[in-house]
Amino acid sequence: MRIITVIRQVLDAEESVRVRGGVVDLEGSKLVMDTMDEYGVEEALCLREAAPGETPVEIVALAVGPERAEESIRTALAMGADRGVHVVTEVTLDAIALSAVVAQVARDESAELIFCGGQQADWDSQALGAATAERLQWPQATWTSQLERKGPMLVGKHEVDEGSETFEVELPAVVTTQQGLNEPRYPTLPNIMKSKKKEIRKQPLEAFGVTPKLKVLGAEIQVKERRRKILDGKDAAAAAEQLVKMLREEAGVIA
């Protein structure tokens, strides 16, 4: 069985965002594999480890993005993925356009399972997994917090608006991840060394013939002015009294 894990390289959540000239400026910022995608890579590894000796499982890490995205593929390879596919482009694709690329790679690779982040930390989109599933005419399980393979079936749990559901779905399928699915492993030094020799196939985006239908006009950071009135709570009663008074009289947010 072949599993594709979709990798996105995003701004480290600890870094502050900067906008310059109407675009988010990532120059000089720390970029990492999206944590949501780490869950996907880890889960693929777990599925393989849970069924040693059965059908061989090959794990392919796929990234679509500029040259630097290769770093995140390397991270996936160092975690244990077998090889990488890098569709190289400077063009920013929206999720619907990107799903056409992911679906095509899945077809080329005869993959049976795709992992994708539940929401990407850069464009705050939740659409990639579902759009890819639709293009392949596969079912999808989104926001998955538990997963197990039983023969041709995936059995798991996922989170919905008010609570969670247990589910069964037959492969092939798209699974999107959620925090709590697993604890991604750290690459060990020997695995980092080994990963340097693993293959990353490069393909130009042009080979896929996709054009984004969305145009980004601009971006800005709208900072809401906050009052920043912070009281010392050593005397709890006095601080509470003052806070409640301010909330009532100054902010007018409680009766």
């Binding site: 600890e14 999720a95 079912p139 609570g163 009663a237 009294e241």
Partner: protein, 326 residues
């Protein structure tokens, strides 16, 4: 046609439907050529929801079928795409709920349409001869820290509307006409084998004016009940939690606020023992007034706080409850 998918829960029209109607009416006023606002109600036993929808739309299409008793992404997207295709919808509005955001991409792919996700503002302009409008929208990116402006030109556009962004329409007096629709639906492939409902008796998190949320700083599950629920009861507020608290099993996931939980923007948000990780802030940083109680003066939450107290929540919260009771 401007198609809006009116969500219902247990037969009751959801608040999101009134928000979609508001957005749809705005688009209609900007581009009258787009035509009627058509509400689509999907489900089983949804007569009441359909009647409610008839007071906010120009016409209502109802698919009241046993096969629609339970939500499924493939079935929902198939239904919506059929109706949008047959009615030559120019815009398809879907609620930015978890399910809405899950099936809307499939609708977009089926219609070969662009998808605008979780929009907070919209503007419609007439463009070419073909009548294709230019739709401009704003949405948040980078864990809700950046506001991005996007634009698309297409025969049909699919969009999801961020809850709480558009206000609600007031229902009219004369109900619009309702039509039953026939649909060809696919088989369900994701089999739901069990469901854990986590609805509490409290006011819904995303609809509350006041939210009191607790983090690991409340110490224990009992501490959460005493401090966070205690304060929420006093204020008639909804209860929220951080991922750390949900992971610890102190609170259900349905109460989680943040990137991978719910987004709230109440008039007042009180963070009790919450550090303010960017993933949490992403779910509440648009709140109108933010209050933080934390013993660490350097906790990141204080950077976006209007009012705060540096101190032990075990002392501060009981003092606040006592003060509010006065």
């Amino acid at each position: 046609m401007i198609l809006m998918v009116a969500e219902q829960m247990s037969g009751v029209l959801s608040k999101s439907a009134y928000e979609l109607a508001q957005a749809a009416r705005q688009l209609q006023s900007e581009l009258p050529e787009a035509g009627e606002v058509t509400a689509l109600v999907l489900g089983s036993g949804v007569a009441a929801a359909a009647s409610a929808a008839a007071l906010i739309a120009d016409q209502v299409l109802v698919a009241d079928l046993p096969a629609l008793a339970q939500y499924d992404a493939e079935i929902w997207s198939s239904a919506v795409a059929q109706i949008a295709g047959e009615g030559e919808a120019q815009v398809v509005l879907i609620a930015g709920s978890r399910s809405g955001r899950e099936y809307s991409p499939r609708v977009a792919v089926k219609l070969d349409a662009p998808l605008l996700e979780d929009v907070i503002r919209l503007q419609y302009e007439k463009a070419g001869e073909a009548g294709d409008g230019t739709l401009r929208a704003e949405h948040y990116t980078f864990l809700s820290r950046v506001t991005e402006r996007i634009e698309t030109q297409a025969k049909v556009v699919v969009l999801t509307v961020k809850p709480g962004s558009f206000g609600t329409v007031a229902p009219g007096n004369t109900p619009a006409e309702q039509f039953d629709v026939d649909l060809e639906l696919p088989q369900r492939r994701l089999k739901v084998t069990g469901s854990i409902k986590e609805k509490t008796g409290r006011i819904a998190l995303t609809e509350a004016d006041v939210v009191v949320s607790g983090g690991r700083g409340v110490g224990t599950q009992e501490g959460f009940a005493q401090l966070v629920e205690g304060l929420a009861d006093q204020l008639g507020a909804a209860v929220g939690a951080t991922r750390a608290v949900v992971d610890a099993g102190w609170r259900p996931y349905s109460e989680q606020v943040g990137q991978t939980g719910k987004t709230v923007q109440p008039k007042l948000y009180i963070a009790v023992g919450i550090s303010g990780a960017v993933q949490h802030l992403s779910g509440m940083n648009k709140s109108k007034c933010i209050v933080a109680l934390n013993k660490d003066a350097d906790a990141p939450i204080f950077k976006i706080t209007d009012y705060g107290i540096v101190g032990d929540v075990k002392e501060i919260v009981p003092a606040m409850i006592a003060e509010l009771r006065k």
